[in-house]
């Protein structure tokens, strides 16, 4: 697996992850531990909510997105440590049986002002369902290594 350094990255580059099917049991298990609200746990409560059905916690979608990202070919040297997000949105719910994948688009890459030998990569990660509809969009800044001389 090729490791990517700051010098390898440029605006406009796009990377794609594999896909994962979201299991109903996984939705309920995650919600039971971290976001035990009725619409993440129960069909009837989901239907009666603005989500329109039993749906994954947004944080579960974020966590699944991270797993797809980590397992993808987009592999920063030294790993991906998030410095922060400018935005994070969940434009539509994630339902049992949905198939998710992530599109990673490089928006910029620059040297770090404070950390020698490192840079900051700005990227938009869009999580899409099986109908190519965005279910999560974030823009983040991630620390990355500069290629050794």
């Amino acid at each position: 697996m090729t490791q990517l350094y700051l010098q390898d990255l440029a605006p406009g580059q796009v990377f794609h992850t594999a896909a994962i099917t979201v299991e109903r049991d996984a939705i309920i298990r995650f919600a039971s531990e971290f976001d035990p609200q009725p619409f993440h746990l129960d069909d009837a409560a989901g239907r009666d909510s603005p989500l329109g059905g039993l749906a994954a916690s947004g944080w579960h979608t974020a966590a699944m997105t991270m797993r797809l990202y980590v397992d993808s070919d987009f592999r920063l040297a030294g790993g991906s440590i998030g410095a922060g997000m400018e935005e994070l949105r969940w434009p539509r719910p994630v339902f049992p049986g949905d198939v998710l994948r992530v599109r990673i688009e490089i928006l910029g890459a620059r040297a770090s002002k404070t950390r020698p030998g490192h840079g900051i990569v700005r990227m938009r990660c869009t999580t899409l369902n099986q109908r190519d509809e965005p279910v999560q969009i974030y823009v983040s800044a991630v620390l990355c290594r500069s290629r050794p001389d």
Copy 2:
């Protein structure tokens, strides 16, 4: 438990959650499933990384924050469904043994333009460790119900 409606919320209100101790096993278990990067799994890899030690995935911190929020006295009628975040930052790592709690500050509350009977609450949620240092900060917009006439 009192349920809060749009009319109950005003800028400047502050709510506090209970606290949770972050267990080493929980850090490794979450990371194994969702963010299997070495610095979230292994002490030596953590020490060799910019995190400075085995540290929780930021998404784990976000998930633990959500659990503290859901279990708190800040209970919106109809539950908390996030419309989106303006920012999400992890200013410092979360290490095993850290004790986290969340400060919820209402920034604004207004009627929804598109969803009758609902409003949007804007809030800043700051997750603090046992030294009162922020480990996560986000500003989010959450759907809430208007009080029935």
